[in-house]
Symmetry: C2
Subunit: 553 residues, 2 copies
């Protein structure tokens, strides 16, 4: 079978897949009743389900399993943010125009197509020319504007549709531009990636994480790239859903406590040196890749392993999946090391996930450009506000004020109320979310700081993750009353306090009632209640209650 | 307590909620390190979880429970689509400009603020003036451009920040505009609603539903509105997630088979007539509202009931939730009847869900403007393609061809392969999705068309819904082999065939193996396998196998 026949085979097989996908409405070219728009696709019913399954599993596998902080930022982004990140100046592709019709093409695509065509279909090609075209294909990404222009001239490449001459290449910014607000004076763009939303929130997220490293933040959302010439079906489109994780780590210590869990995975890796010396991808054990310095550090290695597990759980064929290291000249200016998960499909090996050690490039870029001070400590703002509530209450008649106060405390609004602390000197906030809505279903506290209790707490945390329950673990030495107040304010319905190694207390948020449950059972009791199979009243009846008098303050 | 004090109380209480939400990172003003952008907010970790919980429950409560067809379309939309829907011409608010600084304001907001201020804070206001201001507030939405301009002049309203004179009001289109592709010649907008994506796909969805009415389609996604002056925190923002359902029904028959399931719900309703005659919202049983003609028809009533259940499950206080009917002058030009679910919060009664009988306005608008014929029958396109595969195979050497064919059939790519039909005359497509990814987890077929089997199938369908398993029911008289082929092509891992009233067969997609399971048990067996608690091998070992020889063709 020669190359041309193999390509034809692949193309035919791809067409069979594409036709099935389109006929069963996995996807639909968008706006097709209006002739469609290149690079935009709708997902139909089965496509929506697949997408939603993949995203749920992504949340389970990465966000929940690693206790990551998720954020969800708007797509509309003011220019200043993308100026800082470098996108306004550098997020471009080189474009050429048909000098007569104005039709636009990507300069590198034209050269690529030309070289491939020559290599595949020109039987009279000399050995020397073939070597040259292969070399051009290999270094295409590195060519400058001028070099690309020179190649187009040298090879006599013209506009594919009309054979008209082409302009010299010039940069075209791939961001969709728009204008924010009615004045027309605030330029903005649709975000080209979701990571910037994480970087601009770094300080708040760091605070949320108790001012401690390491932590990871994640975002799933739409990203927009106004491609010059969309191609390859769903692979190069103008709008897509992107899922990004930024793991912030101490630059002096890139070890990872869970690396041992992935160290024995063995899969196809394609290190830089093997690529340069013309070898193929080979099976490497991840632990060895890190210890031999092929992968820069444990944290990077850990995420490579987690991505491998994620992709293979989703049904990616292990034999057609490899992790390829970026070549030195391929790597972005900020990266210390970068590996792409590549999947072999009918278009060849395609990058699906990029895993890079970005160093602190982005944080530094935003820090340099920040023009407003970060809001004063939020805790202070809140305390000032408590004062405002009190003042409003004082300005009323006494009876009315007492009534209003009672209503606010006991009822509040749909999901929010306040109640007095045990001493009565403070109003505590409570979100009364039903378990269905609650952002975190359960918190885990060791009653006092001690290694035994901490181990029990971690054991329980593990069984909560396995049961798919989002939780927060609080091992600070703060008083248990304050820790309850903190979780009430987040609307967490249940709290587990570890006060022995065999059984724990389980406390319900609104009633403050507590029951005693064995360590082994507690995750399933939490699941029963938060999944709605039992009410709190049901479990109260089943388990011995625990006197809470001593613990709530 | 007078009005001013009550307003102050509400404001103080709202501030307590807002401060808690911001301090605990439920939400964050977007890009705040760059001074922020009005009307754009990020969700922090707990906000993301709440949002994701609400959306999952929305999918469970509406899409899965009602077997709706979900679609997911891009936000970037070409002008032609939004021209047809009326948004390019009519999706505007009236704006006035500070004549010296150019600052923009919404004309109706300025008049509203002026009247409210007078009513609440002017002790010398005459009875006559008070009546006039109340009337203006009531009819504000109906005033024309000229009438709004006249009021601003009459009342001497100036720019709030500078007291400068204001321009006459003029329409400002609320869509974010952009340009699609590199030419600069294809204007586009960020979609202001998600419903249009459903309407433009109507024909394909109708086909997907077997060319039968009624059916419902749903879409969750980002929507964008370039508000002139965003206000009220998260209530009036420039980008938000919208969840829309369009239920397509025979205009001659708007009855609903499941209406009886909601007919006994009783909640606060606020019919048009009660509003006009100055009465308050009152408790009405939904069944009576429809039989008395207060709600136009059963289908509209059914969705009002389902929305009521949805909101109250989420924790909305029943006493602060009402369904208010639009007044005749308030209703969009296409609507036959319209009800808003309104929730009372610190901003007063706020519309959260709109439920309208839109008649066929949108479909007609797109049908009128369609400029390209709908793609030829997809089935044909597919058959043509089978031919292409065969031709490619024929052009190879015989041995190679057989090898390639075998590989394609047995392995394919990651999730796709083909296999011969029993007769060997057709290649059947199979998506080999793991249950985790599969868009639909299970199909249910009665073996032959007969009422008893159909009832068993519906009973099983109900228990699948209760277990949270997406399924498809196929009661066409097509041969069972063809029905298996259809579900294999969608990648459905399991199929239940009802061939008796006590037990059924359960067939696995890739092995085509079948086991026999009791009707009562089958949903839990499906759940075990699709949730990953058991493998197919596990259940094969537990249940008697069923000879499939007779059924696969």
């Amino acid at each position: 079978m020669d190359g041309a026949q193999e390509a034809q085979n692949r193309e035919a097989f791809r067409q069979a897949v594409v036709n099935t996908l389109e006929r069963r409405l996995f996807y639909i070219p968008s706006f097709k009743i209006y002739r469609g728009v290149a690079g935009l696709y709708d997902y139909g019913p089965p496509g929506c389900s697949v997408k939603s399954n993949v995203l749920s599993f992504w949340r389970q596998h990465f966000v929940l399993e690693e206790n990551m902080l998720e954020v969800d930022c708007p797509c509309v982004t003011p220019e200043v943010v993308l100026k800082a990140s470098g996108h306004v100046d550098k997020f471009t592709d080189l474009m050429v125009k048909d000098e007569k019709t104005g039709t636009c093409y990507r300069a590198d695509h034209l050269i690529k197509d030309f070289c491939k065509e020559k290599l595949e279909k020109d039987p009279k090609i000399t050995e020397e020319k073939a070597t040259e075209f292969k070399h051009v294909l290999a270094v295409l990404d590195d060519l400058s504007t001028e070099e690309l222009g020179a190649k187009i001239k040298d090879y006599g490449i013209t506009a594919p549709d009309t054979k008209n001459p082409l302009s010299a290449p010039y940069p075209f910014n791939l961001m969709f531009q728009t204008s924010i607000g009615p004045s027309g004076l605030s330029p903005g763009y649709m975000r080209p990636e979701t990571a910037q939303g994480i970087f601009v929130n770094f300080k708040d997220l760091y605070y949320y994480n108790g001012n401690k490293l390491p932590f990871a933040a994640a975002q799933i959302g739409q990203a927009f790239r106004n491609e010059i010439s969309p191609r390859q079906g769903l692979l190069r489109v103008r709008e897509f859903t992107l899922a990004e994780i930024e793991h912030f780590v101490d630059p002096e210590d890139k070890s990872h406590p869970k690396f041992s869990e992935v160290a024995n995975l063995e899969f196809l890796m394609f290190p830089r040196e093997d690529q340069v010396s013309g070898r193929s991808a080979r099976m490497i054990r991840l632990g060895e890749a890190v210890s031999q310095g092929i992968v820069n550090n444990e944290t990077l290695g850990y995420f490579i392993g987690r991505v491998y597990l994620f992709l293979t759980y989703l049904g990616i064929d292990k034999e057609r999946l490899r992790f390829r290291q970026h070549l030195a000249n391929e790597m972005a200016h900020y990266a210390a090391d970068c590996w792409d998960a590549e999947i072999e499909c009918s278009y060849g090996w395609i990058e699906c996930v990029g895993i890079a050690d970005r160093s602190a490039y982005d944080l530094r870029a935003h820090t340099k450009l920040v023009i407003a001070p970060v809001k004063k400590e939020l805790g202070l703002a809140f305390k000032g506000n408590q004062k405002m509530v009190v003042e409003a209450l004082e300005s009323m008649g006494e009876k009315e004020a007492m009534e209003m106060k009672a209503t606010l405390e006991s009822k509040g609004e749909h999901s929010f109320y306040t109640r007095s602390s045990k001493g009565g000197d403070e109003q505590l906030n409570v979100f009364r979310f039903p378990p269905l809505v609650a952002p975190i279903k359960c918190t885990v506290f060791p009653l006092v700081q001690n290694q035994q209790f901490e181990e029990v707490a971690k054991h329980i945390a593990k069984s909560l993750t396995a049961a798919g329950i989002s939780y927060k673990i609080d091992i600070t030495g703060t008083s248990i009353g304050k820790r309850y107040a903190r979780t009430d304010e987040l609307g967490v319905p249940l709290a587990i306090t570890v006060d022995s190694t065999s059984s724990v207390t389980l406390r319900e948020r609104d009633s403050k009632q507590q029951i005693r449950v064995s360590v082994e059972e507690v995750a399933s009791v939490v699941k029963e209640v938060t999944d709605g199979f039992s009410t709190w009243a049901d479990v109260l009846w089943k388990y011995p209650t625990h006197s809470s008098a001593a613990t709530e303050d």
